[in-house]
């Protein structure tokens, strides 16, 4: 009887572990716990005056900036950014999900999720299968490593960034900033879906503590409102 019981227990535990083992063997696309692909539109229900209009120089409310960051922000010159080709500084990975924009999420391949924005025409790639082999050239969107969480969330860690702006009025983050994001999906009453993105920016150089914000998006049926526009520094 004891042998039978132990055998039953081992069998049950093995059967219970099968789905997880199988999920580890499958591609990120095949093992996705929820569907993130589609068109998503930002719903600007908070921080409106920091996101929909360009805040005035010196309006840094709520950002835990260091003194060094404040000096840089106080010297913000959007015309100089345009002239130097840096008009996309507010469209980097640390800030892009805060923009009033639409995002198109697709699978580039079985292990890479592609996130495009119409505002600024940026492309982010979430790599599920690899660490960066070499730092490579820094970019506005950096290098993003992704993994599914047991809670049906998507976790994305981004490094190798070019320095940019957390807000359009020159609140800086450095090239050593690390961005961690969590993507969650919720149903919307009456139909539809909400995408919730929690963003944590770590930057000891320009932030006194991690900068934590969350942004909300609604799913759209198609791309009929997709409107690519180039970056602007204003």
């Amino acid at each position: 009887m004891r042998v039978f019981s132990i055998a039953a227990l081992v069998t049950l535990l093995f059967v219970a572990a099968l789905p997880r083992a199988a999920a580890q063997d499958r591609s990120a696309k095949a093992s996705a716990p929820v569907e993130f692909t589609g068109y998503w539109v930002a719903v600007v229900t908070k921080d409106w005056r920091f996101r929909m209009v360009t805040p005035r120089k010196g309006d840094y409310q709520s950002v835990p900036m260091t003194q060094q960051a404040r000096k840089i922000a106080d010297a913000w010159d959007p015309k100089a950014d345009e002239a130097s080709g840096d008009q996309c500084k507010a469209y980097g990975a640390a800030a892009i999900m805060r923009l009033p924009a639409r995002f198109h999420i697709t699978w580039q391949d079985d292990n890479t999720l592609r996130v495009e924005s119409d505002a600024g025409m940026q492309t982010r790639l979430f790599h599920f299968d690899s660490q960066p082999l070499s730092p490579g050239a820094r970019s506005w969107q950096g290098y993003s490593m992704a993994q599914w969480q047991t809670s049906a969330s998507l976790k994305v860690a981004t490094i190798n960034l070019r320095s940019g702006y957390l807000r359009k009025n020159g609140v800086p983050y450095s090239e050593n900033a690390a961005v961690t994001e969590y993507f969650d999906i919720a149903p919307l009453p009456g139909g539809g879906q909400v995408l919730l993105v929690t963003t944590i920016v770590d930057d000891p150089r320009y932030l006194q503590q991690p900068f934590i914000v969350s942004s909300e998006f609604k799913k759209e049926a198609d791309g009929s409102k997709w409107d690519p526009t180039p970056c602007t520094s204003k």
Binding site: V44, R49, P64, I212
Partner: protein
Amino acid sequence: MGPNALHLKMSRSNLMIVGAVFLCLFACLSAAAQVEITGSWAARNHEFLTGDGLPVDFTGIPLSDEGRIRALSYSESQLSMVERQCQGWPAFYLVQGPFGLKIWSETDPLKGNVISYTIGAWEDRAPLTIWMDGRPHPSKYAEHTRAGFTTGTWEGNTLVAYTTHMKAAFLRKTGAPSSDEATMTLRFYRHGDILTVLAIIEDPIYLAEPWILSRSFQLSATSLPPTGPPCLTTYEGSTAQTAPHYLPEKNPFVDEMTTKYGVPRDAAIGKPETLYPEYRKKIPPARLVP
């Protein structure tokens, strides 16, 4: 007892063991699907959620026409009325206010299951109890309170809470109104030491569409108080039998967001279309340039 009876008894025992293993496995997996949300969660006010810097800042709220008229008639001097000084804010305020969350649970001493979660009060917000024991919401004629009545369920690792029976109050402290028909769905997402709360607020009278907002908190080793200090009323200059207000088109602060921050009036008064990216393209360029 013959050999057959012994065999039958052993088979029953085996079946019971297998059944117990199945039950244990199911219970363990179910329990593992939930996360711990109790504790002290410190506010990280990196977003301006209170929106109470200026009297007419209804940006980001998709107000209905009725809601907008009520909002613009509101004078914050009402808070100097003795009978309104301690009225407090509704349950929505837990994702808007500047304070952290203290969450604790009540557990059935025999079964061990969670009966309820409570989010502690502040001076100006009542505690919110989330009933997890499957009890129904009361009749729509039942008493409405500041906190309302909330039930909760787990959806995987996400705690989902639904609140009804809130008194008519405010969506924002500066006067954007909420009716007693408003409801709120909260979803609690825990990611390590970050707790993000998504709130979807519906109001068939004062909102043109569901108001979606969220806020993140960070786990704190320092215990937060479960309640705020008591609210005490006093004379603040308001004379009896007057209710400060503004008549239609007479609110003197309606253009303050425009003059101070370059925010167009339509956005300041909470028109629903101003929440979406295409509205930015309608803003005159002069307003976009700081």
